[in-house]
Symmetry: C2
């Protein structure tokens, strides 16, 4: 009988997780049934997103593990797997059943020269995230300027390197001199230490014509600053928001996280943009017949008298206005 060490949560986190929130136990594992394997963790992944899950459901976690006993064809003893089994040193798993996050155990190759740990990192979830979201969703083009937040992190460092392979100008934001040095070494064009430098001025220096793409996994104040430097029709990719994970759960669960979880697409529209303004006459021509044919109806809120303009303006914000506000002179 194998014995596993298992970390579990003592209580739900409040704010930053604390050592005391965790408890380590031993667990005697049952003998293998058909279709099951016994695995032993080699490398365990830790990712910020773990913070978002209720600990009562068990700590989520992926690991690279070695099969030390097998009753499952195709999963030989000695082979390596990736498995979402939580914070466990050993586990008995059914190879045909979904594990955490609905993902089944996956056999992985041992590639000479590459550490198996990469399969939970740069060739695992974070690397796959970077590849799919950046290369396959953002349509990056040579010469564009990208800003990557959390640039030395598991996802950001791969995004920046992939961006270089596509010929983009890559600016990374990181929180220490060491991290900045690292991202420059792996090929980022510019590194900004957001704890020391003024981000806005640094962006003005490195991207005087503005930013085309913002790969944002941080949110908060950094997001505000980068948004203000984006060019027209700039694109933003969000697949995490570490600045929010330790906020109270009702805030984490608010509008921003659905953007990630549901892969929402949000588009801004500015009617006074140069190109849009030029299309006014065309669109007006399309609208007139719709009104003449009574397919569209308009509600107007007409206030009589030029002298009443301020009053009518204020009513726009107090809810007493109803329909398009117009003052008849």
């Amino acid at each position: 009988m194998a014995t596993a060490k298992v970390w579990s949560g003592r209580r739900q986190y409040e704010g930053l997780p604390k050592l005391d929130d965790f408890v380590l136990k031993e667990e005697v594992l049952p003998p293998l049934k058909d279709g099951e394997i016994l695995i032993e963790a080699l490398y365990l992944s830790l990712d910020p997103y773990y913070r978002l899950f209720p600990v009562k459901d068990g700590l989520p976690g992926e690991q690279v593990a070695r099969i030390i006993e097998s009753k499952a064809p195709g999963f030989p003893k000695g082979a390596l797997v990736c498995a979402h089994v939580g914070w466990r040193s050993k586990s008995v798993i059914d190879v045909n059943k979904p594990l955490g996050l609905g993902i089944k155990v996956e056999l992985i190759d041992e590639v000479p020269g590459l550490s198996p740990s990469l399969w939970i990192g740069a060739i695992g979830m974070p690397g796959v995230t970077a590849y799919m979201s950046f290369l396959e969703r953002l349509n990056p083009k040579k010469g564009e300027v990208i800003v990557v937040s959390a640039a030395s992190g598991a996802v950001g460092s791969i995004v920046g390197q992939l961006a270089k392979t596509q010929g983009l100008v890559v600016i990374g934001l990181a929180g220490s001199e060491d991290k900045c040095k690292f991202i420059e070494e792996i090929g980022f064009d510019h590194a900004i230490n957001y704890k020391k430098e003024n981000i806005a001025s640094a962006l003005d220096k490195y991207a005087p014509n503005g930013i085309d793409i913002f790969y944002d996994n941080v949110g908060g104040e950094i997001r505000d600053t980068v948004y203000s430097k984006l060019r027209e029709k700039g694109r933003v990719l969000v697949c995490g928001q570490i600045s929010a994970y330790n906020e109270p759960q009702d805030k984490v669960a608010n509008w921003y996280m659905p953007i990630v979880r549901k892969e929402l697409e949000i588009k801004g529209f500015y009617i006074f943009g140069d190109k849009n303004v030029k299309e006014f006459p065309r669109v007006r021509k399309a609208l007139v017949p719709l009104f003449k044919q009574n397919k569209l109806k308009a509600k107007e809120h007409i206030t009589n008298g030029f002298e009443n303009m301020p009053k009518a303006f204020i009513e726009l914000f107090t809810g007493s206005n109803f329909g398009k506000a117009v003052v008849k002179a």
Copy 2:
């Protein structure tokens, strides 16, 4: 010599605009030069976006006006124009020079049966906004469910009606029984009085399978609720944020307004979405050679010892982590 009445701002607004923030003066207009016209306001537009501009630059404002004197060929006396001249009863303008927001004066048709006031409303900026942003940017499809906030407003009421012409299910949010009744009368399928009803429950009732499109001009708490009911790959169009306009200027100028002004496109990405998870093996295969060829490099932050998992997890949020966090068992 004509005399104009002109409203100007006494001081920059703080919070909700107040009557005392405005001052009315008389202004003697100069005689016409070549290329100029004298116009008299018939209908003056009031729009929430006016709140965002510094009053020291003059109050922005569009009007439908009649030409009462002309020295500009093609702009005959008696014709109607739309002009961004601010809050003025009469104005002298050069027909070749851009006015407020860079838009030149525009001759408009008098269409029997349609009030000229519509050219600053449903056939003007708000109507054109609705048409272009909804029909030409959102790719709406028959059978989809759209939620329109500020549904009885100048933009929202047209969006909802256009959505009906495309065969969508249209749910409108408005702030009074009268407004709800109105949007039902013009063809919305459902109206929710957000001041009285629980928005989340009402949405569950009218859109049990979730929402495809959210046309959001309001922001704030209403946004949070609707986002939580959006379907996967839901689309959001933002062209205004009335809930934010009366906040302090530094907040209005923050990250949300650039979405509108620059027509940004924001995409969420969720690696654990069913479809994405299925693509892990394909993407891993693409990543491995990039690492083998040294085109990509990975930084790992390895903590030794299964017992140190909580400590390593906490470090993800304190900035001491550097690279992909891995625990070696």
